[in-house]
Symmetry: C2
Subunit: 417 residues, 2 copies
């Protein structure tokens, strides 16, 4: 995209905001040098690592005979959904009915809602999606919910396609054992409006002294439960779906599905979400473990999401207050200062943040303890922060800025939380 086009994109994005009466935190103006027309703090996605991650995970899934349905709840950014689908994704995973509606409104046709569908208003949203032609799947884990769904969709004259969720004792949702799975399959069969099309799980809530072993054992249970349902003739589709995986243990899930040759009789679906921009915390650690387990996976995921913010105050020696807060960045872990720029300077003229230590985050302020020799810090200096994890950074923003390696803004990406 050339600079003039870029400016047009940015201006149009702004006009949209003004028209609807809201104002986004990060506003793009005309000057492309080092975000200098941008009101900071602003969330920034770097194009090169984004493109790398999109291709990397798609390739990973395909190499393991699986389909990819990236979890859209991470970003709720339609422009990223489009790129995931263009890269070859089978569909988009979502967490709630309103999220599914938003993704569908932006062109995602196959929607995997990896949660139970609860509440009349949410069922009505899904009914609307089905009537509009969506290829929609949700999960069930209890007879009561199955009856509620059966009644609602029968009254609407619609058929709802469901997957049974398999959980673990002490975990989150999902049937706790095979007997529960079988009983639920019977209950689904008794509801004319429901179609059983597969099995779903989420290994991210499986714990144990040896987490990798616990996840692998759970993946094995998923495989066995799927095969048992198939043997018993419970699936009402030719190629049932078997699906699991977030962005931490996707390798173990994919291997279990591949080792069982599920792809010959099922549609194995992986659902990582955070991979798309990766992070500088929880998922960076998880990725290190993946690469230890799988040294063949060269050049793994790269962090693509940062939040840029400015030094607001230097009120006493050794302390910088940054205009960045809990409303701007995820705080599972304290944000990590990555690089510093002088405002108005060039993108390749970075200044040191060696020894900079974030000590506290408030709603709109970040406290940084500076090293003793940090005598070159100026009010207005721009700090690029990394965060953990991406879901709780994306949801702070109505727009994120896509930038190239020179920090020129290439696009402004709207979210639909």
């Amino acid at each position: 995209m050339r600079e003039t086009e870029n400016s047009v994109v940015a201006k149009e994005a702004n006009r949209g905001n003004a028209e609807r009466g809201g104002v986004d935190k990060g506003t793009v103006e005309l000057r492309p040098d080092l975000l200098s027309g941008v009101s900071l703090p602003a969330a920034v996605i770097h194009e090169a690592p984004l493109a790398h991650n999109l291709a990397w995970m798609q390739r990973f899934a395909e190499a393991h005979g699986a389909r990819l349905a990236p979890h859209g709840k991470t970003t709720m950014t339609p422009a990223l959904f489009r790129r995931q689908l263009e890269a070859g994704a089978w569909g988009i995973t979502l967490a709630t009915a309103p999220q599914c509606r938003a993704a569908f409104a932006h062109g995602a046709r196959r929607l995997l809602m990896a949660n139970q569908l609860v509440g009349q208003a949410n069922m009505a949203i899904v009914a609307g999606l089905l009537e509009a032609g969506a290829d929609f799947y949700c999960v069930v884990d209890g007879v009561e919910n199955v009856r509620q769904l059966g009644r609602f969709f029968e009254e609407r004259g619609l058929r709802l396609v469901v997957l049974i969720e398999l959980g673990v004792p002490g975990g989150r949702c999902g049937c706790r054992d095979q007997a529960g799975v079988e009983a639920l399959a019977e209950a689904i069969a008794a509801e004319p409006a429901l179609v059983l099309a597969g099995l779903e799980g989420y290994e991210g809530v499986v714990h144990g002294d040896d987490p990798a072993a616990a996840v692998s054992a759970y993946a094995q249970r998923l495989v066995e439960a799927a095969l048992a349902l198939e043997s018993a003739g419970h699936f009402e589709v030719d190629e049932p779906i078997v699906t699991a995986s977030g962005s931490a243990w996707y390798d173990l899930i994919a291997e279990a599905f591949q080792d069982a040759s599920l792809q010959n009789r099922f549609v194995p679906v992986l659902r990582p979400g955070c991979y798309v921009v990766h992070d500088h915390g929880l998922y960076r650690e998880a990725q290190r473990d993946v690469l230890v387990r799988r040294p063949d996976l060269q050049h793994g995921l790269e962090p693509a999401l940062e939040v840029f913010a400015q030094v607001q105050s230097l009120p006493e020696p050794g302390l910088a207050i940054i205009a960045l807060g809990k409303r701007d960045i995820g705080f599972d872990q304290l944000p990590v200062p990555l690089r510093r720029y002088r405002e108005g300077g060039a993108a390749n003229a970075t200044l040191s943040v060696a020894g900079w230590q974030v000590t506290k985050l408030m709603d709109q302020h970040t406290f940084v303890r500076l090293p003793e020799d940090a005598d070159d810090v100026a009010i207005g200096d721009i700090i690029a922060f990394g965060a953990s994890h991406p879901c709780l950074t994306f949801d702070k923003w109505r727009q994120l800025l896509l930038v190239d390696e020179t920090l020129e803004v290439r696009d402004s990406l709207s979210t639909c939380f």
Copy 2:
């Protein structure tokens, strides 16, 4: 508002969402009974305690000879700004330049930005507000920032009205001592584009073994610093502003200002934000302390903000998973289950949540440990949750629902984060 009008409001709100391509999480449909047309989770503001709080804090400020400039960053909800101004507020306090722009766009003319103005793009936003006629104030705490502001606004041919921030050693922003305040006043005087119009502080970052004593001592320092600046002739306005106070220690600040009879020569301004909907955590505790200190303040603030969410799964005895997560509600403290309703039931037919214990919050799920005798819980049951604190609940929502005592939706309030 009658039911038919209410329905129109709700439908218009939805249409606005569809037009701009985004979809809000909480969508209002036509049936007004117990939110049953509303996709949950949804954030709900109860009209009666809201109205009470609006009047209560305005009365408190006036009784102490102070003006009220409620901190708008809490809600970023223009409909609430309007009600605060209609109740008699002197202006709206905000934290950032984009927040000021949003408040101004929605009719707030007097804007007190209780932060340093940093960054060329943010200065440009403020310049635009000044040119549009805003009565704008921001704070300064360092010579470097003063020079940046002086240069920027002189080049624009504008005058920027500033207040000096007084901080505490080890605190957040602000001059650490009176010498710093005096030096800064000289620096401001040397900048033709800047007008020194008062003194600002924030007692919420003051700590000590006896917090109340520390806050009172800080309030006294504010008073003395203001008087000293006045005596030295540093203020360039007839009635300089002296301002402090969040929603925890406003009584001590107001008393210090009143005891010094500041209202005769200054404009004392209180800036609480969270009071408007209060909370079920940090501020409830703070309010108890206020009422212990000030037993004359009868019938204190009342919590007005709740998030309604539904039971999604009952996967094993004693465990309920609620469709509510970190993306829906503040989590400084774990959310508190307050009441339960059967979906489709009446607003006055509440069910028990005695012994319900939230144990964990994930992005989209809440774990509740149920008491042993909780045998009447159904999938889809609606739980009203209280939270701490309001700033980090409001910013999860693009719209909140204003409801009456029967839980009929009276209005849909848009936020502009």
